[in-house]
């Protein structure tokens, strides 16, 4: 991971998921990509039952009214944490590779 500058990328300032949820996701030019819908984590379960979560990705998509009501399925897209440049204020700034869109999300496996 290469930090573009040594300044605090602001990620540490997000203390709880309620703050992150709904934040706007923009690319480096400021164009809106969507809103944060979820944080996806990989959880490793040891034999004794202990669970350790490891970072996975950000799930985002349109935050339309109908989606929030649950009437329309979120067209969920996923972006890895490595692409996050910084979080300032109410925005998550991500780096999008030119010509390569972000992956479409598959639903998490049914428990």
């Amino acid at each position: 991971m290469v930090a573009l500058d040594r300044q605090d990328p602001g990620i540490g300032r997000v203390k709880a998921i309620s703050a992150l949820k709904g934040m706007r996701i923009v690319d480096e030019s400021g164009a809106l990509l969507g809103h944060v819908a979820d944080i996806r984590v990989q959880v490793r379960k040891a034999r004794d039952g202990a669970m350790t979560p490891h970072a996975g990705s950000l799930v985002y998509g349109s935050a339309g009214f109908l989606v929030r009501l649950g009437l329309r399925q979120l067209d969920a897209k996923v972006i890895g944490w490595d692409a996050v440049v910084r979080i300032d204020g109410k925005r998550v700034v991500v780096r999008t590779a030119r010509g390569r869109g972000t992956r479409k999300a598959r639903g998490a496996p049914r428990r």
Partner: protein, 412 residues
């Protein structure tokens, strides 16, 4: 208990518990002012409550979890909280109206002062809920409400004009459709619909399913009890409309107090008829008061994740207990504060309509969600009916307050 007996008792309980004071009041008034013309609304609303009652019971049976917790999970904290506040506001007002109804019935029987009887009703209700196990409460008040079948017998004996009655089952406008008559008709339609579709009947029913330990295997049983029980129960509402039309309208009298609905029973069957009518009303109103109060407590406990249930000793579900005690106390204060109890009834029904869509929408979303319900999610029919009734109650909600204002509270 064996299954057929359980189904039978479940149906009887649903029948006896179907009528509460709002429905009784508006059914009678509808019969007096419009004869049988509003019968279809009663049946229309019954189908609506069947649709949502079945959904609620199914969610509880499949998830083994109370509905309000699942609602919060699905629509999130903000929307869930709004639904909680809406549903509990209706619960509180309805509870107040029912406690007022109990006091009125007792006043007709014993002649004691009304406010003292409100306090007495509060004590009686709290003691009953504190001491009796859940199943006993269900059975006693549900089966006791069956005494109101005397109204069905009275309606049949008076000999309704079957032609006009049948015509009333078809949706339509009243014959003398002048402006103010139409507005009054619409108001009664909306109020009658609301009284039949009060949300506590679904959320309490679902909580009861968990108290009774239902599993996905019980879903079919659930459907049978809901459909048959509520349909048969609606016959009581029909009977009340008929009594309004046959007994009160020709005499140019409108029962000012719900308790006066007992008069026709007294005329037909004398003292016994009077006691059956008043007794049935007592059990119906007291039962509804208990259900709305408990429903409020269930909703709070489920939304905030508290230990809950009548099956737990009060000490182990302390906030839940404190909640229903507080709700009964607040309700008693509202109706005993000097406000005319009949006004409380009206307001409870009108405000119920306004928040009805908000209370039902999340239930539909949850029951239709395949991720939550798996293979037991709503089928095409349940979804279609659910959406249809949601649209209907939303329209009713938009009209309710204007209609209330235009008709000056149904006084025309």
């Amino acid at each position: 208990m064996n299954k057929p007996l359980e189904v039978f008792l479940g149906i009887l309980t649903a029948v006896g518990g179907f009528v509460e004071i709002g429905e009784l009041t508006f059914s009678l008034d509808a019969g007096v002012d419009f004869g049988y013309r509003l019968l279809w609304v009663s049946l229309f609303g019954t189908i609506g409550i069947i649709v949502y009652g079945e959904m609620a019971g199914r969610v509880a049976a499949v998830r083994g979890q109370p509905v309000f917790g699942v609602i919060r999970e699905r629509v999130g904290f903000g929307a869930g909280l709004a639904t909680l506040l809406a549903a509990n506001l209706i619960n509180l007002l309805t509870c107040a109206a029912e406690i007022g109804g109990v006091a009125i019935v007792w006043q007709l029987l014993a002649g004691w002062p009304y406010r003292a009887l409100v306090a007495f009703a509060f004590v009686f209700i709290v003691l009953t809920v504190w001491l009796l196990p859940f199943e006993w409460i269900e059975r006693v008040f549900g089966l006791g409400g069956l005494m109101m079948l005397v109204f069905l017998v009275v309606a049949l004996r008076e000999g309704p004009d079957w032609g006009t009655l049948a015509a009333g089952l078809v949706p339509g406008w009243p014959n003398d459709a002048t402006g103010s008559r139409l507005v009054l008709y619409a108001f009664y339609g909306v109020a009658l619909l609301s009284s039949v579709m009060l949300p506590y009947e679904t959320y309490f029913y679902a909580a009861g399913a968990i108290e009774d330990g239902w599993t996905p295997k019980d879903i079919t049983l659930n459907r049978v009890v809901v459909i048959v029980g509520f349909l048969l129960g609606s016959l009581l509402s029909v009977a009340l409309i008929a009594i309004g039309a046959q007994f009160f309208e020709p005499r140019g009298a409108k029962p000012a107090l719900p308790g006066l609905a007992a008069l026709p029973a007294a005329r037909e069957f004398g003292h016994a008829g009077l006691l059956l009518a008043l007794g049935g009303m007592f059990f119906a109103f007291a039962g509804a008061a208990i259900e709305t109060g408990l429903s409020g407590a269930y909703n709070l406990a489920h939304f905030f994740g508290w230990p809950w249930g009548k099956s737990r000793p009060p000490r182990n579900a302390a906030r839940f207990c404190a909640s229903w005690i507080a709700i009964f106390a607040l309700a008693a204060l509202v109706v005993g504060s000097g406000i005319d109890p009949v006004d409380v009834v009206e307001w409870s029904i009108v405000l119920a309509v306004v928040v009805l869509p908000l209370s039902y929408f999340p239930l539909l979303v949850v029951a239709a969600d395949r991720r939550i319900m798996g293979e037991h999610a709503n089928g095409g029919l349940a979804n279609a009916l659910g959406v249809f009734y949601l649209v209907v109650v939303t329209l009713a909600a938009l009209c309710a307050i204007p209609l209330f204002a235009l008709t000056r509270g149904g006084r025309g």
